[in-house]
């Protein structure tokens, strides 16, 4: 049984809040004088007496100190007594200070067809100065995004410090809705992000098709001035998905706008684009989206430079 023991009103408080500490010295502490003066020290600070020291009914000595504003995120509190010509530390307590976690925000998810995993990311909110654990929680739900209280909730724990988490394929029920949220927790509290309800297949991260120029030999098809022959095929992993695409083109001239051709199929072996000015070099790009089922636009394909 150690000689001294520190008790804190709370192991962690909000930055700036007060904390009360008590240090009691048990009677059987033989090596000490009968009623030693109990002293306190914060980290490397000076030894200072408590606010008051009293004799408890059971014979133990107790010193109480109040720290009005804890303004360090981590403080070591020492309880000491004078001994011969030095001081002896009897106990040490670690006091943490910070903020309860704010609700994580901007939760968004993408389904990657290459890794077959759903990756969600979020904004953690302001610094809490305390060890704070983020957990991505998900649960299968009915079409109306309701789920039984007892349905099993999957925890996805991000890698250290990451603000995203990847749910592997074996935990995903594709083509069904699931409810997803982030929980943040530290010693001062717990908070939850707003809930998302989605079918992973509706948030597929789609890559654009590969756009190519076709060099149609003149004897096959009469050359038409101001026309280009193009072909494209969908990004291979998304081949099974019905998609619609749009093509945009713009001459390499300062100040010209893009011209858009919409409602194109995701696979085109021979596409003739006319109405172009022969002298100019055009930049062409294409992008697609899952359709008619819900989906997200892919990015634009890398620019293809062609002269009609």
């Amino acid at each position: 049984e150690s000689c001294g023991h520190i008790r804190l009103s709370a192991p962690a408080v909000r930055l700036g809040d007060p904390v009360v500490a008590s240090c009691t010295i048990s009677t059987h502490c033989s090596k000490l004088d009968r009623e030693p003066q109990i002293l306190w020290r914060l980290d490397d600070g000076p030894n200072q007496p408590g606010d008051r020291q009293q004799h408890l009914p059971d014979g133990t000595q107790e010193s109480i100190i109040t720290l009005p504003h804890v303004n360090h995120t981590k403080t070591f509190l020492f309880c000491l007594v004078p001994w011969t010509n030095s001081f002896q530390i009897l106990d040490q307590a670690e006091l943490q200070a910070g903020y309860p976690p704010a609700s994580p925000s901007n939760l968004s998810c993408l389904m990657y067809l290459t890794t077959n995993s759903l990756v969600c990311q979020w904004e953690p909110g302001p610094e809490t100065h305390l060890p704070t654990n983020f957990t991505l929680k998900s649960v299968r739900s009915r079409a109306d995004c309701q789920y039984q209280k007892d349905s099993s909730i999957l925890d996805c724990v991000p890698e250290d410090g990451q603000k995203s988490c990847s749910i592997p394929r074996k935990h995903l029920l594709l083509y069904q809705n699931m409810v997803i949220w982030v929980q943040a927790e530290n010693v001062l509290g717990i908070s939850k992000s707003p809930k998302l309800c989605l079918d992973p297949m509706d948030v597929v991260k789609l890559e654009p098709p590969t756009l190519r120029a076709l060099d149609i030999s003149p004897d096959l098809v009469p050359q038409q001035p101001g026309c280009l022959w193009l072909s494209w095929k969908p990004w291979e992993p998304s081949d099974f998905m019905d998609q619609k695409c749009e093509l945009r083109y713009q001459p390499q001239l300062r100040g010209t706008n893009w011209t858009l051709v919409s409602h194109l199929p995701s696979r085109e072996d021979q596409f003739k684009l006319c109405g172009l000015l022969q002298a100019l070099v055009y930049t062409l790009q294409i992008r697609c989206i899952r359709s008619p089922l819900p989906g997200l636009w892919s990015s634009w394909s890398p620019g293809l430079q062609l002269r009609p």
Partner: protein, 167 residues
């Protein structure tokens, strides 16, 4: 009969295409790894191993019965899920593809089941897996894999036709 919702049909068609794609990859891998490239050379073995094929007659153009068609779709997927599970541990080359295929088939079966629930035509008794063939050699497991995958491919083609007609 009650028409099926468009989103269900579109999702089902997409899932069929997704599974067909992965299924043909598995067939290619089994062919490349073990030179078992012609399922028709394994018919006799299939009989002796008892590799079942799932019926889809109620989804045919001539004899379409919507509720029974959905039920046959679900039972067929459930059967092939069992068959594919019996192939687990077949080899490291095809393992990952087999795992993904299993998940896709299971998810598609859930899509069908959910729709049957919405239509209130769920069979009273939950489907139970019929007895699966037992493989006593690596060859039987590989050959069983080729046959099961080939049967699943033809099942999916018929399912795609039926769903296409309904969409």
């Amino acid at each position: 009969p009650v028409p099926l919702p468009q989103s269900f049909l579109l999702k089902s068609l997409e899932q069929v295409r997704r599974i067909q794609g992965r299924n043909s990859v598995l067939l290619e891998q089994l062919c490349a790894a073990y030179r078992l490239c012609h399922p028709q050379e394994l018919v006799l073995l299939g009989h002796s191993l008892g590799i079942p094929q799932a019926p889809l007659n109620c989804c045919s153009r001539q004899a379409l019965q919507l509720t029974k068609c959905l039920s046959q779709l679900h039972s067929g997927l459930f059967l092939y899920q069992g068959l594919l599970q019996a192939l687990a541990g077949i080899s490291s080359e095809v393992g990952p593809t087999l795992d993904m295929l299993l998940l896709d088939v299971a998810n598609f079966a859930t899509t069908i089941w959910q729709q049957m629930e919405s239509l209130g035509v769920v069979p009273t008794v939950q489907p139970t897996q019929s007895t699966m063939p037992t493989f006593t050699s690596a060859f039987q497991r590989r050959a069983g894999g080729v046959l099961a995958t080939a049967h699943l491919q033809s099942f999916l083609e018929r399912a795609h036709c039926a769903l296409d007609r309904l969409a």
